[in-house]
């Protein structure tokens, strides 16, 4: 349907309405159709600069040396040549960087894999299977997201020391095996993404429940699973408080190692920043590859009004 001509609008609705209509048409309508002007892009560029510059700043410091940093608070715009030398020093320092990196990779990979698996299992069950107490249990899961588990660290520490897990990776892995957010997220997604017909077809073909889950639900859950996996990976990689308490300095993850780096080399900023950059690069690479899914997932997961 095309819009009525301006003379027609003037005739039927008056001169004011015609002027308003003309203005609206010049600016190209509202919201979804209208292309924004350069001011919008300028503001966005500024915002992006604020978000990215601190990371670039860390890289600048990491490529400098301690003396230059101490002399001049504002670094030059281009990196100096000491980055690799500083990286070398981080690797040779006594914080156990390689071990920390390996630990972080193990913890983040295992927790994101199990979180995806267990959350999808639970989500499949909550969204598509009928069982007694389903609604109440799901409500309980949602309610637990409001419980700050960090506050239970003292008994959790007591439990871990009873188990003899202090300083061992399973003390960090086990509490992260599955999250309430993950269960809720997969339930929401499978609710709409997995048709009952597919499950029925599999059941009629004689597939067991677990077989149905494996060949029908899991493939259907893939987009949400990718997002949940990424999310858990980032959360696990950047987690500090609990690994710091339970792992300590002997068997650190990367954030704990960074803390050690600052505690022992606090005057050598270029060394510390090289550590910061080194620990951030893996996630930046992951983000460059899969950030699109992460963004789409956060966009989809918001609470809608």
């Amino acid at each position: 349907m095309s819009a009525p001509s301006l003379p027609y609008v003037r005739q039927t609705a008056g001169a004011g309405a015609a002027r308003a209509a003309a203005r609206r048409r010049r600016s190209g309508g509202h919201g979804s159709e209208r292309r924004p002007g350069w001011v919008t892009y300028l503001l966005l560029t500024l915002a992006l600069a604020v978000f990215v510059l601190p990371i670039y700043y860390a890289f600048l410091l990491a490529s400098s040396d301690a003396q230059t940093i101490a002399q001049n608070p504002i670094p030059g715009l281009l990196p100096e040549g000491n980055f690799l030398a500083n990286v070398q020093r981080v690797l040779e320092s006594d914080i156990g960087f390689w071990q920390a990196l390996t630990n972080s990779v193990i913890v983040a990979t295992v927790t994101s894999a199990t979180t995806v698996l267990f959350s999808t299992l639970a989500g499949f069950s909550f969204s598509k299977l009928r069982f007694r107490g389903r609604k109440g249990l799901l409500l309980f899961v949602i309610a637990t997201t409001a419980v700050p588990t960090q506050l239970g660290i003292i008994p959790l520490f007591i439990v871990m020391s009873q188990l003899g897990w202090i300083g061992q990776l399973q003390a960090v892995i086990v509490p992260g095996l599955v999250t309430a957010f993950g269960v809720f997220w997969m339930t929401q997604y499978l609710e709409s993404a997995l048709p009952y017909e597919l499950i029925e077809a599999a059941r009629v073909d004689g597939a067991s429940m677990i077989r149905t889950f494996w060949s029908v639900a899991l493939p259907a859950a893939r987009p949400a699973a990718v997002m949940l996996g990424l999310f858990t990976f980032v959360a696990s990689w950047t987690n500090f408080f609990w690994p710091f308490i339970v792992l300590g300095s002997t068997n650190p993850t990367l954030p704990v190692a960074l803390q050690l780096l600052q505690a022992s080399y606090f005057k050598d900023m270029s060394l510390i920043m090289a550590g910061v950059v080194l620990s951030t690069i893996p996630l930046l690479v992951l983000f460059a590859v899969a950030g699109r899914q992460l963004v789409a997932g956060i966009m989809a997961g918001a609470v809608k009004g």
């Binding site: 924004p36 915002a47 003292i154 008994p155 067991s208 954030p255 960074l258 966009m299 809608k304 009004g305």
Partner: protein, 336 residues
């Protein structure tokens, strides 16, 4: 329905006895069990884990808090509310509480305002949408510890960028580590850096769900863009804003990483200017006192505060939900 399906199932083995009815019967039993037990089996990992690492520790914290309990010595005598009395008489506890709320307010309020505005800008029909969205999320992949180290340098008292920039415009250097308020601002900046983009995307998602006809109606009524923002966008976003506030509250009141890393000693400054409650819990438990009882008491007090604020939020949500129905009514009027 159940009675109509039963007879054929019972009759089926009798129809063809040559086909080893016992095996069919067995696999059917198995299948029935499969259907009955599987749902519980699939949700059990979460409940087992939550019981072990969430619910039990929380209740056990209450138990530990009424005992004299030492990191190395273990459980001691029952002391009732002595641990609570001790921490309530400690000036450091109150300092920690004040600092936590101050940092929380300084981070949540500006962060939310910037996030809403940024989301409104991103809501336009942009070229390269995904690029901009990914851009605002970049800080999210930097660990809080790394963020704290970067901004710790930016806000260094002697050789920091912040003071150097202030000097350029003729302002005296600020003792970011000396005074409570400047240190809170510096720490809040770290939190804001990491979380603003994340919250922006959540708000943006909610914004895109706002019905476009509302805006069209507003344009016809002669509302400008600012008026549209305040009269349509913000009211429509209320549930999401509440959600963001609740999640920031839970996280913000437990803040530890950033203030802990703000200097290399990790005690929240010589006068405890930026020591938060969670840092105090850590110090009581694993610092010189090694008193798990006192640490548990503080943790439990913080838990109650968080729950109280959660309930307050809930009450606000209820109020705002009724406001929301008012706008829905207004919307119906417009549609008619």
């Amino acid at each position: 329905m159940a009675t109509s399906t039963r007879p054929p199932r019972m009759r089926r083995p009798a129809q063809d006895p040559s086909r080893a009815p016992r095996r069919v019967g067995f696999s059917q039993t198995l299948s029935r069990w499969d259907v009955k037990v599987s749902p519980y089996l699939y949700i059990s990992p979460f409940f087992l884990l939550f019981g072990l690492t969430g619910l039990f520790p929380l209740l056990y914290t209450a138990y530990v808090s009424v005992f004299d309990w030492h990191l190395l010595g273990g459980q001691g005598d029952f002391v009732g509310f002595e641990n609570f009395a001790f921490v309530f008489n400690e000036p450091n506890f109150w300092k920690g509480l004040r600092n936590t709320f101050s940092i929380f307010a300084l981070s949540t309020i500006p962060q939310l305002m910037v996030a809403v505005v940024l989301a409104a800008i991103l809501d336009a029909n942009l070229r390269a949408k995904t690029f901009w969205r990914m851009g605002v999320l970049v800080p999210y992949v930097v660990a809080p510890v790394a963020v704290a180290l970067i901004f710790g340098k930016v806000f260094a008292d002697q050789s920091g960028v912040a003071n150097a920039v202030l000097a350029l415009v003729g302002i005296d250097p600020i003792g970011w580590h000396a005074q409570p308020l400047p240190s809170h601002i510096a720490i809040a900046t770290m939190v804001n850096f990491r979380w603003t983009g994340y919250n922006t995307l959540i708000l943006l998602a909610a914004m895109q769900a706002v019905p476009r006809d509302l805006y069209e109606a507003a344009v016809i009524d002669g509302a400008g863009r600012v008026r549209q923002f305040f009269s349509i966008t913000i009211p429509q976003l209320r549930p999401t804003i509440i959600f963001v506030v609740i999640t920031s509250t839970i996280g913000g009141l437990q803040i530890f990483d950033e203030p802990r890393m703000f200097d290399q000693l990790g005690q929240g400054g010589p006068g405890r200017q930026w020591m938060t409650v969670t840092m105090y819990v850590y110090e009581l438990a694993f610092g010189s006192q090694k008193s798990f009882g006192r640490a548990a008491a503080v943790a439990w007090v913080l838990f109650i505060i968080i729950v109280a604020i959660g309930l307050l939020n809930f009450w606000l949500t209820q109020r705002i939900a009724s406001d929301g129905s008012a706008t829905a009514k207004a919307r119906k009027k417009v549609a008619r």
